[in-house]
Amino acid sequence: MDIANRSGSSPSTEAEIINVSRRHFIQGVGGLALGLYLGPVLAAAAKHGAASFEPNAFVRIAPDGTVTVIAKHVEVGQGTYTGLATLVAEELDADWSRVRVEGAPADASRYKNLFYGAQVTGGSTAMANSFEQMRKAGATARAMLVSAAARQWKVSPDSLTVSNGVVHHAASGRQAGFGQLAAAAARLPVPSEVKLKDPKDFILIGKLNVPRKDSTDKTDGRALFTQDVKLPGMLVAIVAHPPRFGATVKSVDASKAQEIPGVVAVVPYAGTAHTFGGVAVLAKNTWVAKKGRDALDVQWDDSQSFKLGSDEILAQYRQMASRPGQVARQAGDVDAAFAKPARLIEADYAFPYLAHAAMEPMNCLVRLEDGRCEIWNGEQAQTIDQFALAKQLGLAPEKISITQLYAGGSFGRRASTFSDYLSEAVAVAQAAAKQGVNAPIKLVWTREEDTRGGYYRPLFFHRARLSLDPAGKLVGWHQHLVGQSILTGTPLEQFGVKDGIDSVSVEGAGEPYDIPNRRIELSTPLASGVPVLWFRSVGHTHTAFATETLIDEAAVAAGKDPVEFRRPLLAKHPRHWGVLQLAAEKAGWGTKLAPGAAGERRGRGIAVHESFNSYVAQVAEVTVKPDGSFKVDRVVCAVDCGLAINPDVIKAQMEGGIGFGLAAALHGAITLKDGVVEQSNFHDYQVLRINEMPAVEVHIVPSAEKPTGVGEPGVPPIAPAVANAVFAATGHRIRTLPFGEQLKS
């Protein structure tokens, strides 16, 4: 399984923009196609009518004028479909209301993420890697439509203009819609060079009146998620998982399950080191399958299972933190800086495992037929999944097709490094086939399997100490992080692990402050039995918390305002300083907060953090009640993500990121006892509800820099901003997450 070899080049060269002109194209109407890899495109063109115009893998224009943008990135809610379509439509001068979006099939040769060389949605890169590629796709199509009109009207292409999906010739008053020109355009050669618009001429990019493409279907129930797809003859699989990671099926008494009318089969299936084995009950109806599953009597073999609890894991991590770790980053002379500190700050931080808890529990529809494997799934990592399932099935990767669907949230969970739930769906289908049940099978995890399914944000422990000189200057920063590696042992290890240091374990720690003596250490426990995975903003979920609360502590120790204290430390980081200042100004930082009711204490806190090349600062205002309960009343957020492609989507991502981060900060914890996950559903794994959502105000820094991501960067600053606000209100430092009831003691 070697993604780097498959893509054939390094990430840096992959970042170069594909020259659309080098792509093959469909010459002529319908049938004359060049290029082997265009097979699926050709099929799509045939399906969509012979006169469809498909100048490249990303745009199709139908005779009725409908422009279909083929989205190489999944829509998990963060507006990628809309963003990709905006880029194409901008350069195409399309009528936005006539643009629709379709998920791309799994095919890295056409649909790879240019930053990763594989078809992956993640790292908040969807817009950043596509910015020029999608614009060129649109510009190419536009040039060909203009050419077609120019030939038809025997005028110079330069004399034509395009707006809202119509090509105009001002001198003669002639005009034609894209649909009328599509067939003629399809017969023309693809231009080798296309000119992109000057940003000052943008009519969609950066504008507020560009509604999401999924808004209508997601408000009338029509949007199709994996959960909603039904194939003829399809069976739903509800599964019994072992209570502990690493346990296997010892025996199963299925007699009661098989008595339930509608149960088609009971299928024990094997797992792997990375996926659950268990027992599946198959039925046409989900309810029947669940009743069957609940009636199973399964004995588990626990001999190889993981049996530690969170408390024991944390105790081990504490011990590891007291011994030297691997040095991830180092500057100056840290030992000297701590020889005689004028002021010393020492702090231990604990972060629990976190479940993504997307609203749509994990699921996957698979059909094994004729040496092929067809997958229907909303997912982030097609190339990884194609390779994993191909290996599992003994097929070539291109025999694995994936139909991309909307995902009901993901937050990283549907970018499974080991393709866990997809692989499980295939294992169930394989085991069913051995029983003679050859049907498309949709694996559906109930909320309980989803909560207990592992692939969590890893549990982390940090031990930190800061040294200030007599003038209150921060001169020493020593932070030791302990936690499982997300990438080690996965197909992606080579991209992120160097000399045993997983870059995502330490990303953001102590950054970007200019401190003369600094050491970031990492200890990575051997893989425990608890599978871990990226979780919206990944390492930043914990590193930003420690860093930004430590800076706040240092400011307080130095007797300085937290914003002013950061100023010299951010002298070389104008974009951090820019958002920090903007958030502070808009929040009225430095003014007095309106007092709360009698007995209430109020406070304001600030944090700034860069992740995925975007910069976000947030100011949180909290009210702490006499009983220690508290509410985050308001958050003011400033974001610098380069050129804002869709300002309203950016705002939505900041709002959502704040709510997602708050859920983890206030409530989020997966805990284990004797290896068993103690949570199961939303009553004991609590997330944020509307009554806890603060008012949010978002300010976008105007910028001409290249666009960067917004899916994740809104998350990291909120927890430390709130912790700093709580400190301002109460003098109490929270260093163990979640906050929970800590203020009540």
Binding site: G77, S215, G221, Q227, I658, F660
Partner: protein, 152 residues
């Protein structure tokens, strides 16, 4: 045998009457706008109306619908309030992943039927049973106010 209407259309069912309405709608009728999220009435993704009242279809047996009018997201636009809520959702660009939004819209519609001009506190109280992991809550609040204004 139970009989009821769904979005104005008569239906009868003589299968397993203990089956939650959710799975009857989704798996027997292929009406997939109503979503499964938790199965324990904790998240609200499965919200439908039974004689105008919000219920969690994941814990409501089909038998409980006997003789009643069921409204789902697929039929909520038949009435003025439902249409106004959907329009407000679109105008304010509420949705992100969208999986919970059928339930959010059903609960919001029932709220506005009972309370023409809800305050933020009213909204928080009525909507706190509906989880949105994308945390579109800021816009949900705003969209309910917007719908209330448009209906006034």
């Amino acid at each position: 045998m139970v009989k009821f209407t769904i979005n104005g259309k008569a239906h009868s069912f003589d299968g397993d009457l203990a089956m939650p309405l959710l799975w009857y709608l989704r798996d027997e009728l292929a009406m997939t706008g109503t979503k499964y999220g938790c199965g324990m009435a904790l998240c609200g993704a499965c919200t439908v109306h039974l004689d105008g009242q919000s219920v969690r279809s994941c814990v409501t047996p089909v038998s409980a619908a006997d003789g009643k009018k069921i409204t789902t997201i697929e039929g909520v636009d038949a009435e003025r309030i439902g249409r106004a809520v959907q329009a407000a959702w679109r105008k304010l660009q509420v949705v992100q992943c969208g999986y919970c939004q059928s339930g959010q819209i059903m609960t919001a519609t029932a709220l506005l039927a009972a309370n023409k001009n809800p305050s933020d506190a009213d909204i928080d109280a009525a909507m706190s049973g509906n989880i949105c992991r994308c945390a579109t809550y800021v816009r949900i609040r705003a969209a309910i106010h917007e719908a209330a204004r448009s209906l006034a």
